[in-house]
């Protein structure tokens, strides 16, 4: 079961990365696309808790950092998604989270994730960009993530819940 779970998580992350890089740019607004990897990590956090989500966040972040055409300093998305896994895992409830809780968690996670990534860039001087530009990207990414939440999160959460039926019944 553990192997199946890891394989499913890896597949979800891989699909998210490829969609984010190859398919969504056709719909992008100024090059800003939905953070599908972040949505997968939030889904995992809401169903399986923070312990699993921080590990998954690290893995997904490293893939985002290394898969082409990424060119920023590696480890930045990994750090951002580890923190997202932690934050989203804090609001996990035993019962199924209500739609409002899910949307609020996605909004908070998207803001935290993109902001941490942008701040790490400011610290490392990786892209020399101004704060207004960073804020614009953060806000648009947040709106994209909220738009995609009803389409992506139910499926992701169903997958992760099915992989561990004993806990979902509790």
């Amino acid at each position: 079961m553990n192997v199946v779970r890891a394989a499913a998580a890896a597949a979800a992350v891989g699909i998210a990365v490829v969609l984010q890089v190859s398919v969504f740019p056709h719909l992008a607004w100024d090059g800003i696309v939905p953070d599908l990897c972040l949505l997968v990590v939030v889904g995992a956090a809401l169903t399986r808790g923070a312990q699993f989500a921080v590990v998954l966040g690290f893995g997904a972040g490293v893939v985002l950092d290394l898969a082409p055409p990424a060119d920023h300093v590696a480890g930045r998305w990994a750090l951002a998604l580890v923190l997202v896994g932690y934050v989203a895992g804090r609001v996990r409830q035993e019962a199924r989270p209500s739609a409002g809780t899910v949307v609020a968690t996605v909004a908070a996670s998207s803001f935290v994730g993109t902001s941490v990534f942008a701040l790490s860039g400011l610290l490392l001087d990786d892209p020399a960009l101004g704060v207004p530009q960073l804020l614009e990207v953060i806000v648009v990414a947040l709106l994209w993530d909220l738009l995609l939440t009803p389409l992506v999160l139910p499926a992701v959460m169903a997958v992760f819940r099915r992989l561990e039926p004993d806990r979902s019944l509790a």
Binding site: G14, V18, G49, V54, V55, P68, P69, A78, E94
Partner: protein, 318 residues
């Protein structure tokens, strides 16, 4: 009288209490052990430190391996969605076509007037180009490629993946162009894909030359991809003032790498002088529309072996 209501209230209170307790202690499931969290954060910091080291980062083999895995998948995903993305082009309304027609007519008349007034300058420019022995700028071939992946703006770097790699004769530090002008340069390659740094990236610096005055300078990207994607031109000669609508071409460097000379980059839209840096800065609107980038060509030395048809400098296919 009080018994059923009272009992129901009690049950209700207990229910609410459990719900509130549940709400107060969220995430009763496995919380991450602090050691795990610290270990992961330290791992991220280690990755950043390793990768920040500059040229020849220890993570290059890992990037290459990820590219070998994800590159072909990105090519496949792009091939799968391409029919759908092109459908939107068939449903363009008559209005939008009329708008296009008007815009094109305006551009045509503007180009005609440009041609009439600037013929002399253009001839002189061609003479200079011939004189400065740009023999290297002759005899280049183009490897055609399609953009199959675009880095998200959330990553704040403007890079794309193209579906031609080392098998197609591509290696790092080659110039990438399209029909309109300069696109960028190749950063790294895998067997079947390559990563291209666009000239609008904040890290990109291109040697540029103002076509009218032959003044040289450096073009810095602003890191914005969309319609307001612009470049800043900083001229070496601080007394030179580029005029509005002047065209800027690449300056080129020794052995044609990373940028070959004479590729059109963009047009000057505004000029301002900065007292602090005692130099003239001009804002350049690139000819290439980076939001809808698709078919590009990679400039390779003629005779490069490739896995696909190569466009020769004479215009033929090989």
């Amino acid at each position: 009288m009080r018994s059923p209501d009272w009992r129901r209230d009690r049950r209700h209170d207990r229910l609410r209490a459990t719900r509130e307790r549940r709400w107060r202690t969220p995430g009763e499931g496995p919380q991450p052990s602090p050691a795990l969290l610290v270990a992961l954060v330290l791992a991220c910091l280690t990755l950043m430190t390793l990768d920040q080291a500059g040229d020849g980062s220890p993570l290059d083999p890992a990037r290459r391996a990820a590219g070998e895995v994800f590159g072909p998948v990105e090519v496949a995903a792009d091939t799968a969605v391409r029919p759908f993305t092109e459908v939107s082009g068939w449903f363009r309304s008559r209005n939008s076509m009329q708008d296009d027609l008007i815009a094109l007519q305006a551009e045509n008349s503007r180009l005609k007037s440009d041609l009439a007034t600037q013929g002399y300058n253009r001839n002189r420019l061609e003479e200079y180009d011939g004189l400065t022995a740009a023999a290297r700028s002759l005899g280049y071939d183009l490897v055609p490629a399609r953009v199959v992946g675009l880095g998200p703006s959330q990553s704040f770097s403007s890079t794309v993946t193209i579906d031609a790699g080392s098998d197609a004769g591509i290696h790092p530090d080659l110039t990438v162009v399209n029909n309109d002008g300069l696109v960028g340069r190749v950063l790294r390659v895998t067997r079947s894909t390559a990563t291209v740094l666009l000239i609008v990236d904040a890290d990109s610096v291109v040697g540029g030359r103002v076509g009218e005055s032959m003044e040289v300078g450096f073009l810095h990207g602003r890191g914005v991809l969309g319609n307001d994607g612009r470049l800043d031109l900083e001229l070496v000669d601080q007394t030179a003032v580029p005029a509005k609508h002047d065209a800027v071409v690449t300056w080129g460097s020794e052995a044609g790498g990373p940028y070959v000379s004479g590729v059109p980059v963009g047009r000057v839209t505004s000029v301002y002088s900065s007292l602090r840096e005692s130099s003239q800065r001009a804002v350049i609107d690139p000819f290439v529309d980076f939001g809808t980038l698709d078919l590009v060509g990679v400039v390779v030395p003629s005779g490069t072996p490739s896995d696909r048809a190569v466009i020769e400098s004479s215009g033929g296919l090989r």
